[in-house]
């Protein structure tokens, strides 16, 4: 089987200025930090970033914001990264907020090829709620479009060379959803095994969703809001 394992540098060549980049992780945990390091190092900018939160100013996904590589952020929470709030108030960063479960479902819908989800209109009062209303079964619903990305990057505990992924504990979070929603998905992984070495029952993300795997160079999300 042709292995999907490539170098972090090669993988990050998929990320170009101005693309929609979706990132796994929740409060730092389960964030693909080596890929983010390389994106910073290679200088990509004008990114539209989609992820659960803005991480921390000096760590993980938050560094893309602090280093002003992000022009637009679709997320749920930025309280742990004061740079994000400051840039937002200064008008440097456009932020669209979604309730966490709705963001998760929007990403999943993108991953499984559904065009949109319907949600109750009074969930998630916020600036993102400017979408189309539809009346159905005597109630109003908001049509929330599915989210996909040019590139999705995720963090996993184990992969095989086909790209099957197994996560670890709370580092699973939105990673399996992001893994489905990228036109190109890159998984940063701790342990890489030959295809057939993972138990088919324990695989969380089937390898069909994963285009490339890279070996993490260490460092990781820490606890921390």
């Amino acid at each position: 089987m042709v292995s999907k394992l490539i170098s972090i540098e090669e993988a990050v060549d998929q990320v170009r200025d101005g693309i929609r980049l979706m990132v796994g992780g929740f409060g730092g945990i389960g964030t693909p930090v080596s890929l983010i390091d390389m994106i910073l190092q290679k200088g990509m900018q004008d990114l539209t970033l989609i992820g659960n939160d803005a991480g921390f100013a000096d760590q993980g996904v938050g560094r893309l914001i602090s280093h002003e590589r992000v022009k637009r952020l679709l997320t749920t929470h930025i309280g742990s990264n004061p740079d994000a709030g400051r840039q937002m108030m200064e008008g440097k960063l456009e932020v669209l907020f979604y309730p966490q479960g709705i963001l998760a479902e929007k990403i999943r819908a993108g991953g499984v090829g559904l065009p949109a989800i319907l949600v109750e209109p009074d969930v998630g009062i916020g600036p993102s709620q400017q979408e189309q209303l539809v009346r159905y079964g005597g109630k109003n619903y908001v049509i929330e479009p599915a989210l996909t990305a040019d590139v999705g990057i995720v963090y996993a505990k184990q992969a095989d060379t086909y790209g099957n992924l197994i996560y670890e504990k709370a580092a699973r979070n939105i990673n399996p959803l992001v893994a489905m929603a990228g036109k190109i998905t890159i998984a940063e992984v701790e342990e890489i095994l030959p295809a057939g070495e993972l138990n088919p029952e324990h695989i969380v993300t089937p390898g069909i969703f994963v285009n490339y795997i890279v070996r993490t160079s260490g460092g990781m999300g820490a606890w921390g809001f």
Binding site: G79, M89, V95, A170, F225
Partner: protein, 220 residues
């Protein structure tokens, strides 16, 4: 107003009394994280965390934290027996389908109708809406745990929230270092006043009318 650790623990201890054995409970970030400490493990309360855990256990002994195991607030945790991991879409599926019995949330402001504001102070601080709106709307019971006053010593319980809302008419109960207040159809009902505060110190520092419960307790 910043609370002392004793006050935060007192709020959490009181909050724990709203939980019955076997319930599924979501603990938000901040004071709510402390609630689990006040429940016996043998009650088998299943604590739900929106990052994808059901069955969150106590905080680990220092030095035994697992780097991949934290609650939604980023605090290291352990697991209770029967715990499971899943992705965030399933975590919110549990919430949205009405399977969470009680959600404890922090708040910036709460209105007399139970409106919740906890995501932004315009022009000053942006937190983001996070999981608040969905927990507030779909949990069977929603309890706000917060300080009674803000950092300028102004009431956080108001006739109308001044800050942008996270969710409307969703809060069932408010527990602060001064009082326990139930949100009823008739308005806010004061049921407990916490030592060392007086009834008057609660009433004057609450920005909405309070119905005084006929069963009002002065709690030591």
């Amino acid at each position: 107003m910043g609370l002392l650790i004793d006050q935060r623990n007192m709020i959490a201890r009181r909050a724990a009394r709203e939980i019955l054995p076997g319930m599924t409970v979501n603990l938000g970030i901040g004071i709510p994280e402390l609630v689990a400490d006040f429940l016996p493990s043998e009650w088998n309360v299943m604590f739900h965390s929106v990052n994808g855990i059901l069955g969150v256990g106590p905080f680990p002994v220092q030095g035994e934290e697992n780097a991949h195991l934290s609650n939604a607030g980023g605090t290291p945790v352990t697991l209770h027996s029967g715990a499971s991991f899943f992705d965030s879409s399933i975590a919110y599926g549990m919430v949205r389908s009405g399977r969470v019995d009680v959600a404890f949330l922090g708040a910036l402001q709460v209105s007399q109708r139970g409106d919740l504001a906890n995501w932004i102070v315009p022009g000053k601080r942006v937190y983001g809406i996070g999981g608040g709106p969905e927990l507030a709307r779909y949990a069977k019971k929603v309890i706000v745990l917060m300080s009674h006053l803000n950092e300028r010593n102004e009431p956080k319980i108001l006739r109308e929230c001044e800050l942008p809302l996270s969710a409307k008419s969703c809060v069932d109960m408010i527990i602060t270092e001064r009082a326990v207040i139930e949100v009823t159809k008739q308005g806010l009902c004061l049921t407990e006043v916490m030592y060392p505060y007086s009834l008057e110190e609660v009433v004057t520092k609450t920005g909405a009318p309070l119905i005084i419960s006929e069963y009002l307790q002065m709690v030591d």
